[in-house]
Every structure is written in C-alpha cells, then in structure tokens.
Symmetry: C2
Subunit: 320 residues, 2 copies
C-alpha cells in the first residue's frame, strides 16, 4: 500500500497560480431576503457561474495543468457522468491533450454531447460498477492516460481548495462556511484552506437525508458507504474515500441533513429570489441553514453554490 | 397643455444620489460562450439581480424619494400588473408611505401578493382600459396620491438613466448598448445618459416582432400605438408616449426585431449557459444580436438584462 499524500496549503497556492488563467474568480452575491429569513449574514459564492458550470473545473484544471509534457501527451481519463467528466474535458481541451470519460450508456445524451463539445472521447459502459471498472481499466491500459479521480485525488482537493481561498478574500472573512458533501472533494478543499488561513471559521457539510452516508460516517468515526442512494441531489450520491475522510474527520464542525422536499423548496426559492440557476446539490446548504436557524443566526455565513448544470426541461417543481 | 419637461443629466446625477441607498449596483457578467457565438465582446448588466427583481425600481425610487414630505404623506399610485407596480410598492414601502396599485383582477395572484408583501394596497379593476382609468381616477381623487406613470414621467426616466451611468463606469465604455423597448422608459434613460457622457456609443432598441409599434413609429417618424399586441415578452406590450418618443426619435441608432421563437431560444440559452434567471422581455436584445451578427461583431456591446420576474412553474419551453 502506497502512503497517502495529503495536500498542503502550499499546494493550494500553487494550484491557484496554475489554474488562474483557466477559471473564473466567481462573484459573491448577497440577498437581503435570505438574510431576513435566516437572521444570518449570508454570502453566496457562485460557482454555478464557473467555467463548465461547476467548481469541479478547479480540481480538474489543477490535475491537467500540473502534468509533465510526457504524461500529458498520453492524456487523462476518468469515470463520471456529471460535472467532473465535463470539467476534465474542459481542462484537457484547454491544454489540447486527449481525454477519455467512461460514462454509463444510460446517462443523459446532453451530458455526453457537452463532453464531446470540449473534445472528449466518451466511452460508454453498462450502468454497473463491474462494467464501469472493466471498461475504465481497458481505457487506461490502452492509452496510458492519467486517472483523475473525481475527488479522492490530492491534486483535485488542492484545486477545489482555491474556492474558499478566493471566498475568504472576497468577504474579508466568515464565521462559518456551508458546502454540500458527496464524495467530499469540495468540503476537503474547504477544510484544507480554512484550517490553514482561518482555523476559527466553522465548516458545515450539508447532505441529503436520503444519502446520509457522510453523516453516519462522521458520527461513527469511520467511512460508511451506501449502495446507490436515491436523491434529487445527484452530485451527492457517492461515498467518502480515504483522502476526503481525512479532512472530514479532522476539520468538519458538523454535518447537517435536508429532506428531498426541503432541497427542492430551497432550490425553488433561490431561483425565485436570487434569479440564479442552481443545481439541486447546491440547494442543500441553504436548506440546512433554513432549518437550523439557531446554528447560523447572527453569523457571517458563506454558502458555496457548487454548480448550475440542470436540465431546464425537467425541473423538480414541474413534477410536484 | 402643460409644457413637457425633459430631464437633464443633472437630474440623472441627482437621481443616482437619491436612490443609491435603496438599490443595488448590479453586477456586470460576461460569457465567453456568447462572445464566440456573436463575435462581439458582450457585457450583461444584470438588473434581474436588482431590488424587486427589475430595473424599474430605479425610476420608482427616484419618484418616491423625491417627493416633498407633504406630498409623500398622501402617497403614490400607479396602474401596472408588472414590475413597475412591484417596484413602486417596494420604494413606497422603504419610505413608509401609502401606495395604491390598480391591477386587472385577472392578473396573477402571485404578483398581487408580492405587491401587498411590500405594503401596497392592491385595487382591482376589470381588464379593460375604460375600467382601469375609471378605477384609477377614483383612487387618486380619494387619496390625493401622486401618479407615478410607469415610463412617461421625467422622474422615472431620470431614474432608469442611472443604469447606463453605472454600466459605462463598470465597463470603462462601450461601443453600443442594446436594451428592450416597450413604453421606452429604459431606452429613454439610456439615451439621456449616453447622449451626455458617451454620445458616440450606439443605442439599439430591441423589440418583439409581434409588438413592433416602436419599430413602426421609428420608421414613420411619429408615434404609432397598437391595441393589445400579443407577445411572450409581456413587459414590452405598451406603446411609446411623448416623453419617451422624444428620446427614441432623437437618439436611438436603430430598432431591431425578434420573433417569439427567437426570444424563447435566446432566453433558454441564457438560462442554460449563463445560469441566470431572466424574463422573456430581456431575452429580446440577445435575440436581436444573434440574428444581426454583422451589426455587432468586433464591438464592445452592453446588454441590459432588465429583470428576472418569471413564473418558474410556467416556462415557455415547457409548452414547446
């Protein structure tokens, strides 16, 4: 077993310099409506306005632009039907190197098209872990491509950490930050940055009740992985891995849960009042703030709006 | 007949000082996707993030906060089922004075609720001009309220003019500005500001083909008013009046038209790529830029995103 490398804040600073030409410094919005509703001073870091529509482009760009020319020539690969696949495709396209993304054949055609639009080779697998692993191993064996895991990768975590670095500068400091948790890449990056530059700032992870494996892991003190949880917050279904567990177990203040209806309500209210398009996954933090008023009232609270890639023709309030 | 007062740029500067505490300096967004698509450098002034969700709060606030204490005590009144009614309610609520809005009883209940939420007295009329005028005259006779017309009012035009004043400062200048045209309040404000501080900047008005009365007026050289045009851009159905005609006829470079489908497509694309919620009315400028590439390519073009108040449960691409 190889020793696990834990990224440092120097890695975050290097990542920020490396990716700066390829990402947006996304704006921070405020809403007097939500301030009144929660009794807190809320700051929304709008990674939905990020390149490729999500924060994941930070970690993907850090991995891609950190490769040696020799490795870069062989390209990168990942498995993801979501924002990480799209972000890795964007970053590889910017560097002009090959990228393969293994995607279940059942994934939305629009997502595959978007990846191809950035220059990716989309390789379809059956919608099962066995098929995905076999197809992915084959892709890597043939190409020698570098595997960029969606979150269990020190380069990816250091890249995501640049988000909170910007956020703290833009707001002149915060009492707490709330971010969604799935595999834990964004939360780990947040922990990495804050434990170094603002150790007194609280870190809350927000998770769908229907996919509460991180919550149960946090309470149990070890990783618990669920098999295929069902939630509308489809970016948050994946389990923690050893690198993200390191940060979650050491630095997270608490994990808060929201039901599916609470997530949909918070998403709708954000669109309606803030006029921004956000994914279900990034409505989870606001949903937890609305139901845990006593935790946040009177504080300066940063909310990470992680992405805005939704199917505008299938909105959750259309089905209710 | 009383002489028509035409506001000056000194009025705009005074308006900006007056309303600054009550409005947002809204952000300017860019989109590399739309830049590539159009060959222009586009800058989007996001008045959808404005207080009450639309630029109209600028003019309404200027009228409300410019009143003498004596007049303010009697309140303000208008007729509008849209953003002006909402904005006047917001401004009056901020000053703590009475406000009555005459609204057709057939208008969406959500809009009436939102006005009441800001403290307005909503007075219903039948959905006809005769009923509206009778009911409105009665409201004013009884209350002595000051009538704040949605656009044919020098205070309102001076207020809307603060939008382009901010926009030019935020962008360090533009070659052209494109804004939607209905009654002409926003366009008149844009003309007022640009003719004073950037007379070389072109001013394009964007109008739905289905409600092209301003276009026909512009070509004919006199006001042509239509009776009840039908367009999805429901903020743009009203005709020009003498104050807005003054600005349109003297300062507008050209008026460009877009079909209903072009408006819907531009609106969808804006939501999808820029992750912002915009009204159909403010998709008209982008629709005209997309179809008149030769007019805008190579230029620094400002696009005024006028508002974001839409019914999220009734989106136009849901019906197609």
């Amino acid at each position: 077993m190889t020793e696990m490398y834990i990224p440092t804040y120097d890695d975050v600073k290097a990542a920020h310099e490396r990716i700066r030409p390829h990402i947006h410094e996304t704006p921070v919005l405020t809403s007097s409506y939500f301030n009144e509703l929660t009794g807190a001073d809320l700051f929304f870091k709008c990674e939905n306005f990020q390149k490729a529509g999500a924060f994941k482009v930070r970690g993907a760009s850090n991995a891609v632009f950190g490769l040696s020319d020799e490795q870069a020539a062989k390209g990168v690969a990942t498995h993801s039907s979501g924002n990480h696949g799209l972000s890795l495709s964007y970053a590889a396209g910017r560097r002009g190197i090959p990228v393969s993304v293994v995607v279940p054949r059942t994934a939305p055609e629009a997502k595959k098209e978007a990846m191809r639009g950035y220059g990716a080779t989309v390789v379809e697998c059956e919608p099962s872990t066995t098929s995905r692993e076999a197809v992915f191993a084959d892709v890597v064996a043939k190409s020698g491509a570098d595997f960029v895991h969606p979150y269990n990768d020190h380069r990816v975590i250091a890249g995501q950490a640049t988000c909170s670095k910007e956020f703290m500068q833009q707001t002149d400091g915060l009492d707490a930050i709330v971010a969604p948790i799935g595999g834990g890449g964004m939360i780990s990056g947040t922990c990495l940055t804050l434990s170094n530059i603002a150790p007194e700032t609280e870190i809350y992870a927000a998770e769908p009740k229907n996919a509460d494996d991180a919550y149960r892991s946090f309470k149990a003190g070890h990783i618990i992985a669920d098999d295929a949880p069902e939630t509308i917050a489809d970016g948050l279904k994946v389990p923690l891995k050893e690198r993200t567990w390191h940060f979650v177990s050491n630095h997270v203040t608490d994990i808060l849960l929201a039901t599916e209806q609470e997530i949909i309500d918070a998403m709708y209210l954000t669109w309606q009042r803030m006029k921004i398009v956000i994914e279900p996954s990034c409505a989870v933090p606001l949903a937890t703030i609305l139901k845990n008023r006593e935790v946040f009232a009177g504080k300066r609270v940063g909310v990470i709006i992680t992405g805005g890639n939704v199917d505008l023709k299938k909105l959750p309030w259309m089905h209710s």
